[in-house]
Symmetry: C2
Subunit: 411 residues, 2 copies
């Protein structure tokens, strides 16, 4: 029986599908499946004791404030702390340049709400972050794409896409989700110069930037842009909106992230957020501030870097040992993900079906391509599974791939 609601869904959501990533996450809940499918931080590194102390302090000293409604912009000491961290990365901003959001996913949604008219083209990397597509599809976004290689977005192929008049460029320069690659400094400069030349602004999504465990930090696109325009003022007025999050450094269960943007963009995003959820939990913001400030976050990030670096190395070793010839993978210098490519003609969705039978899961890479393609690719998460499980899971996945390749080679 139909309820009266069913013929009333809006056009924008009539074809809305449950996110592949969210559905796959459900597999991680089956205890006997080794899952490389999620994007979950290692729970081992959650600073539980620090959270306990912070909750105690916040409720003891500021209980009435922490449990009350707060401002849409966000808790001021938290925004001031983000300003200090951003200054260390080479960009001077004020709290007026910052909006606290309920996770970066909300920042993507608010950006869609504020900027995307139905039919607008968005320029993304291919592959790109699935959550951005999911946020923007409901606003009627269409896509043009530029491919990636080991140095990130291939900016030499950018001009054709820019000539199609995109509303903005969406880029993940550091430890790309899903591809695990990092945009070289030279390409960052090239991207900023071309974006300026064509008058097309940029969304820089940087959830993993602090999680580098190899090589030197590269300046964010925001910093490169600010240097490019020689703007010495103490608030950012440039071409880039920057997104980052506490999900990968403190804990994703907080749903706590931030946007850095020119003041008039923040103002518009604030208005959109008023209608979307009034403000992000005051209590969560105050607790996160208590945990993070005064140097703890810096020390804690070093712990995470160490753990994730070991887990990446462990996965790389297992891949070298168990994956068959002809299968390749990226060598991420940070972040949570690694990207593997099967020989031409093999479909990672077929591998996925067989893998789940063998109690191991990953995300087939095709989902990350807005215009199709990448059928022979897969995303592997190395932050969440234990080292022992990673070794076992990659061994199982190796069997599946060997089996597929040997079937293919049979007469």
């Amino acid at each position: 029986m139909q309820t009266p609601w069913e013929n009333r869904f809006a056009q924008r959501t009539q074809r809305m599908k449950s996110s592949a990533i969210r559905e796959l996450l459900k597999l991680t809940e089956m205890p006997d499946v080794i899952s490389f499918a999620g994007g979950l931080p290692a729970p081992d590194v959650f600073p539980v004791d620090e959270f306990k102390a912070a909750c105690e302090k916040v409720l003891r000293d500021y209980g009435a404030q922490a449990l009350q409604y707060g401002s849409t912009e966000g808790y001021t000491p938290l925004r001031e702390m983000i300003c200090r961290h951003t200054a260390r990365q080479g960009l001077n901003i004020t709290p007026d340049n910052i909006l606290i959001t309920s996770g970066s996913q909300q920042a993507l949604d608010l950006i869609g709400k504020v900027f995307i008219n139905s039919g607008d083209r968005i320029l993304t990397e291919a592959p790109t972050y699935l959550g951005a597509l999911q946020a923007w599809n409901v606003y009627g976004a269409e896509y043009v794409t530029v491919p990636l290689d080991d140095d990130g977005m291939i900016t030499d192929q950018l001009e054709g896409a820019l000539r199609s008049g995109p509303k903005f460029i969406y880029a993940l320069p550091n430890f790309h989700n899903p591809a695990g690659v990092t945009m070289s400094l030279e390409r960052r400069h090239h991207l900023i110069a071309l974006a300026d030349q064509y008058g097309v602004p940029i969304i820089e999504d940087d959830p993993y930037g602090q999680l580098r465990f190899e090589g030197e930090d590269l300046p964010s696109l925001t910093v490169v842009d600010n240097t490019f325009r020689g703007d010495a003022e103490n608030n950012y007025r440039g071409n880039v909106i920057y997104l980052s999050t506490f999900s990968k450094t403190l804990a994703p269960g907080l749903r706590l992230a931030w946007v850095i943007a020119p003041v008039e963009v923040i103002r518009k995003l604030v208005q959109a957020k008023q209608g979307a959820d009034l403000h992000t939990s005051t209590f969560v913001q105050m607790v996160a501030y208590e945990v993070a400030h005064g140097g703890f976050l810096d020390r804690h990030i070093q712990t995470i870097q160490k753990v994730y670096s070991e887990r990446r190395d462990n996965m790389l070793d297992a891949l070298a040992e168990f994956f068959p010839a002809g299968v390749t993978w990226t060598h991420p210098k940070g972040g949570l993900f690694l990207w593997s490519t099967l020989p031409e003609g093999f479909k990672s969705r077929d591998a996925f079906v067989r893998a789940v039978e063998k109690k191991v899961a990953f995300v087939p890479g095709g989902s990350f391509f807005p215009l199709g393609g990448g059928e022979n690719t897969m995303r592997l998460n190395f932050s969440f599974p234990t080292p022992e499980n990673t070794r076992l899971g990659i061994e199982r996945l190796g069997w599946v791939l060997r089996e597929m390749i040997s079937e293919q080679n049979k007469p």
Copy 2:
């Protein structure tokens, strides 16, 4: 200097204005203003000690789960608890009928995203909740309205509005925001019958329903609807989407609320929420569950009822003592708000300007009318100010109104 972003705002947000309510809330931050403008719970009744104990327990026993990503639908024990509470109110549902949201404001936004196409008419009461208009304006909603009296929506005037083909009806049956009135049982039945006859579904917004301090609880529209269609099944499949929240019973700083709806509506709202913020903070959900379950919430609501009842009486006494003849007000039987009407021809916005000079604030009622009108009305919040401040603030407001009336009466 314009940044590249400014000429790129989407049509839907080009005329988006900062919410009047949010701007007015800023007045409450000026320490010497007595504000009846906000909709803030009394911080005196926040169960701070229970929150402390709950944080301690959740982090000790479930730290890794509480700080990790969770399911979009929400924390299962919390949804099961809501099922038990809903059963006591006369409606049997399952957790599949429930979505946990980041405050009721997010529920309103998701409903707009899932149901409203640009140009759709929404049928609201006049006056109605401003946050709903703010959430739905960005999706291009237009409005038809039905007036209220002391028994709530005047359902005798509903058919004309229903004939205009609204997408849905939006109603606040209990302790209306802003009007403070409650829909009579007879009108609840009339509304449900007419909605069924015209095939128009209903959003029932019920943030204050548990905060009744006078008279008997009335069945929710959801319960009346379920009885009307004689549906005995254990999951709700009817005509009403029901919204409620922990903001007024536990604490608004959590940003924690829920939607009850037919399963296929929940499924669509879940998909919209995946793109909007992935899920509501796991930590907040688990802490709220620890505080609320096992009978504490029931006992705590009795405390709130007692405090708010006294504050309402205190405001009613002050109004009787200090407001001039010709000004009337509602007698709310619960909730947070009272609604006052000035004599015809007086503008409450003029009174507001003078009131702020005298360090007292309220919300001019005109903002709550989607199609204009109500220029001589005002909303007064009685939950937040202390009894002493309420008395002093109403005295000041009385001066302002007397002054305006006596100027009017001069030759």
